[in-house]
């Protein structure tokens, strides 16, 4: 309704997309640290990936709290008398807290060199870490009125995005460890492939949807948002690094790192454009 006299704005601003980005990387890095107990190649990542995961978890928590209009009330989300389990945010809050608690316990067990307990906590933490991108996906999916968000793909897309970005960051931590780089290259390739496949079906269902979807598709594929989504997110940040990783140069350390950098830029652009894309049309209603 272009000529109506009241304006609306988007409830969820770009802070949320940065949160999606950092929490996704934090979750995937924890998973890499867990892998180190089971796969020799990942051993060098055990502490570095975990520490970075923990720092990013703290940053994510602060971003989330800072975005509340009543930050001091964030404790309400832990109040059992208030918790509303039909909201994915409530599950997400509990997931974040328990992930934080397990991370702290894992830190102490690693310091004590208690291998048995560390392994158990690592597995438990990984399961909770998996919950983080899943819940962020559900956060969007449940809004039936928002085109692009309201698709069962969202939680899976966020898991794949988390793996891509996490593996990309891990490749910077890997240094010259060749075996590890081989594994991380595979991680990036497969998860970026999954992201690409999901983006294609997302674009298809959006373009062929109802009025809201159709308009959202238009916004996401043209103008400034189109540049971010298609240009940076899909072409530069997903397609280009996949091709790069498949090329001979993509098997060398420099190639893996360049691809990792592009994937990180792409991962941020995709999260941002999906978050904003789902809200832009409704501001006209």
């Amino acid at each position: 309704m272009g000529d109506f006299n009241i304006f609306h704005h988007m409830p969820w601003s770009s802070t949320y997309s940065i949160y999606f980005f950092t929490i996704g990387i934090s979750a995937a890095l924890f998973f890499m640290s867990t892998l180190s107990w089971y796969r020799e190649e990942f051993k060098t990542l055990r502490s570095s990936a975990f520490y970075l995961s923990f720092v990013l978890l703290a940053v994510s928590g602060l971003l989330l709290i800072g975005d509340l209009s009543k930050p001091a009330r964030f404790l309400n989300i832990m109040n059992p008398a208030y918790l509303n389990f039909t909201s994915p945010l409530a599950w997400g809050g509990l997931n974040l807290l328990s992930f934080g608690a397990v991370s702290v316990a894992y830190f102490f067990m690693m310091r004590k060199n208690d291998e048995g307990l560390s392994r158990k906590l690592a597995v438990l933490g990984s399961l909770l870490a998996l919950g983080l991108p899943i819940y962020t996906g559900f956060d969007l999916t449940v809004h039936q009125n928002r085109p692009v968000w309201n698709t069962p793909l969202m939680p899976i897309l966020f898991v794949a995005l988390s793996l891509v970005s996490g593996a990309a960051v891990a490749s910077f931590l890997a240094g010259t460890n060749e075996k590890l780089l081989v594994m991380l290259r595979r991680f990036m390739l497969w998860s970026a492939g999954a992201v690409a496949a999901m983006l294609i079906s997302l674009l298809g269902t959006t373009a062929y949807g109802g009025t809201g979807q159709e308009l959202t598709f238009m916004f996401m594929t043209s103008g400034a948002l189109g540049g971010i989504f298609i240009g940076v997110g899909i072409l530069l940040g997903t397609a280009a690094p996949i091709l790069l990783l498949l090329a001979p140069f993509g098997r060398q350390q420099g190639g893996v790192m360049l691809a990792a950098l592009l994937l990180l830029v792409g991962g941020m652009a995709l999260r941002y454009s999906i978050l904003v894309g789902g809200q832009i049309v409704q501001t006209y209603f």
Partner: protein
């Protein structure tokens, strides 16, 4: 009223429960904005945000043009997505009456309810206010719960000069709203969202109430207004 009920929260047609609704007769609305003003006065609604608002659209081709007014407010949905989205139960539905209300002291300001409302009915209150100390939490229309529970009609209904707004209990077959909804063709906004809105429009043209093609080419002058508005009202 033997509608298929999908969620246990719904109260329409449930014996012994009231289900308040509003009928808005667009044929009678003259766009005087009296309802917006009455609402602002009733609730000290801050500048830039509205519990009820009267958007308009100029429709038709010259010389056959008219201004299409469409008063808007929270639909007090029977299956409200805002209630299920709130992580701390700060927004809730009153079972008897169907009011969707806010616990201001609980709201953490996560804006999940704003994202989940298909009607843009919710807004964030500013950080400071002159007369009211409820700040930085989400607010919206209450169907004038405080008046209705004392036997009064909502402020917008009382003030409407064209008598375009009619309020009452839809579960009471003798009420005016029940009669209007049963005997006249009515429409609700975005019924496909499954929210079961309880604001019914008489004379609504869905060609004008949907996302218009105008989204493609927002008028330049409106775009400037919009940018100025957004600059002053960051969410």
């Amino acid at each position: 009223m033997s509608e298929l009920r999908l969620s246990s929260i719904e109260t329409r047609g449930v014996p012994g429960k009231r289900r308040y609704a509003m009928v808005i007769d667009l044929r009678r609305c003259i766009g005087c904005d009296g309802c917006m003003t009455a609402c602002k006065a009733e609730f000290d609604v801050p500048v830039g945000v509205f519990r009820t608002w009267v958007p308009y659209k100029v429709v038709g081709i010259y010389p056959n043009v008219r201004k299409h007014f469409m008063p808007r407010l929270c639909n007090h949905c029977d299956d409200p997505p805002c209630v299920r989205a709130c992580p701390v139960g700060a927004t809730y539905k009153v079972e008897d009456g169907g009011f969707v209300l806010q616990h201001y002291d609980r709201c953490i300001g996560c804006k999940a309810c704003m994202a989940s409302c298909p009607y843009n009915a919710r807004f964030m209150l500013p950080k400071s206010r002159t007369y009211t100390d409820i700040t930085s939490v989400v607010d919206k229309c209450t169907f004038c719960h405080h008046r209705v529970t004392q036997g009064l009609a909502p402020a917008c209904v009382v003030t409407c000069i064209g008598r375009a707004r009619i309020f009452g209990d839809l579960n009471d077959p003798a009420s005016e709203v029940a009669r209007l909804v049963s005997t006249l063709p009515t429409q609700v906004l975005r019924p496909e969202e499954g929210t079961k809105p309880h604001v019914f429009y008489i004379g609504l043209d869905r060609n004008n109430s949907e996302f218009g093609r105008a989204v493609y080419n927002p008028l330049d002058v409106l775009e400037q207004d919009r940018q100025a508005f957004n600059k002053n009202h960051q969410g």
